[in-house]
Amino acid sequence: MEQDLDLKTISNEERVKLIQAQRKKEQYKSSMLSIAGVLGFIIFWQVIAISGLIESKYLSTPIQIVSLFITKLTNPNPDGAVIGVNIISSLTIALSGFGLAIIIGIPLGLFMGWYRGFDSFIRPIFEIIRPIPPVSWIPLTIVWLGIGLKAKALIVFFAAFVPCLINSYAGIRSTSEVLINVAKTCGASNFTIFRKIGIPSSMVLTFAGIKVAIGNAWATLVAAEMLASSSGLGYMILMGRQFGRVDLVILGIVVIGVIGTLISILIGMLENKVLGWRKL
């Protein structure tokens, strides 16, 4: 590409422009390809739905989904709630469970990673609970807490709590021995070293844990809403299935996917702010 031309003749400025043009062309080409991929899929979906290959009760067209979204903004049937209400109720559950998981999971992981006594006491209990998937906790929590906000938030908490703890634990354990010794020779107490060296160096992995946690929280929320709830996107999808409204089911899936992506983008931005120095 760049080298094939005879570069001896053209000056540096032209060469820079040449490279920039080339890079822009490549970026343009790859974004075109991505758009083509997505558009192709939607058109393919539209063609199949219209052509009757699959009956309309199994697959509705993208246009129907969009128009349903608009009507659902104001009209509560069939699941008895406007889409805005469903989104908000799902978000409150997911974020409360997720928030709780961060407040409890991360400090616990950091303390377990730093203080050996604490680790050898809590670790066995954690290792027993960890392999049990959060979904299987649903029946017990329903018996305890009914199907209200608290039950679902607890299930979501379980799903998000495990990655937060594991990653912050691994993060603080990876603190470099040299930095600890530097602080020790300056006469810092163990807690100061924990605060000034341990926590900052665990940030990278802790953030990775937060990203996994929000993904788990959002995924388990859907399960919790399907198995026992009276509102939320998961419930909306379930109602869609009950009433044979396939467009409502697909709409629910699309909305969940979009919100999930938005949340992880937000967390990515937060990470860049906190760990920005690594990119310089």
Binding site: S30, G37, V249
Partner: protein
């Protein structure tokens, strides 16, 4: 470790005995957990260890739908093995494709990311609507639920193959296909195995949810059965079984990784 405590200074002795304390702590915490379980079950509907154990024995005498606990666990395991077999072949191949080839990467990644954004369990209503609650839809749900992690890991492994290794290939006149198969794929194996581990645990979680929503066998079915007939010991027993099998799966995949790529084992 020699027991020559005489040779150690005061601080070293303290360190030596502290290690002994750290060995005892886990035993204490486990027994506390057991105590907690026993008196919680006394004061509430939570099943006690004894009830759960009796329920397990009863399940052997009176199997549900002709299967005892091992039968149900096996039914769930069969479903995830089929799903994982598919995921690992197509998932890894697709991951290699979109990780190594630039045009495929640009074409498919946005689509794949959209698919990945949807939580696996959200597909259940759609799939059951399409295909009912037979065996195939459940396997399809497990495939949908666990393919994302294997593809993502493989793609990550393939797209950041170290330039240094490719330079070695250039110096030794490796052809393009040699660079792909002899250098890129082996160096991505670590990431692929990480994908295998996460997809196994994801599959195990999704199969339970799929069974909970409609099945005649499997551990998820046991839980719903227990929930419907308010048979809490059955629910707790199945949860413990799920936990144990989940842990075993994780150990097996780690062991398989150490066997197949011994170089990833951290030298001591």
């Amino acid at each position: 470790m020699g027991t020559k405590t005489t040779v150690m200074s005061v601080q070293e002795k303290r360190e030596y005995y502290l290690k002994k304390v750290y060995m005892v702590l886990p035993v204490i915490s486990l027994s506390l957990l057991l105590l907690l379980w026993i008196n919680v079950s006394k004061s509430s509907a939570f099943p006690s260890p004894k009830d759960t154990w009796d329920r397990l024995i009863m399940l052997f005498q009176k199997p549900i739908k002709g299967l005892n606990i091992f039968g149900h666990v096996w039914a769930s395991l069969v479903r995830i093995f089929i799903a994982l077999a598919f995921n690992w072949t197509f998932g890894i191949a697709f991951g290699i494709l979109i990780g190594w080839n630039k045009t495929c990467k640009a074409l498919f990644t946005p689509l794949f990311n959209a698919f990945r954004a949807v939580p696996p369990l959200a597909w259940i209503p759609l799939i059951t609507l399409w295909l009912g609650t037979g065996e195939f839809p459940k396997i399809l749900i497990v495939i949908f639920g666990s393919i994302a992690s294997i593809v993502v890991n493989t793609q990550a492994g393939m797209s950041n193959v170290e330039k240094l290794y490719l330079d070695v290939g250039t110096i030794f006149n490796a052809s393009a296909s040699q660079k792909l198969f002899q250098i890129a794929i082996p160096s991505a194996l670590d990431a692929i195995f990480a994908g295998i581990r996460t997809s196994t645990s994801a599959a195990w979680m999704v199969v339970l949810a799929a069974e909970m929503l409609g099945a005649k066998s499997g551990v998820g079915f046991l839980i719903t059965r227990g929930m419907d007939s308010i048979d809490m010991p059955l629910v707790l027993m199945s949860m413990i079984a799920i936990g144990i099998v989940g842990a075993l799966l994780a150990i097996i995949t780690q062991f398989a990784e150490r066997l197949l790529c011994p170089w990833t084992k951290k030298s001591n």
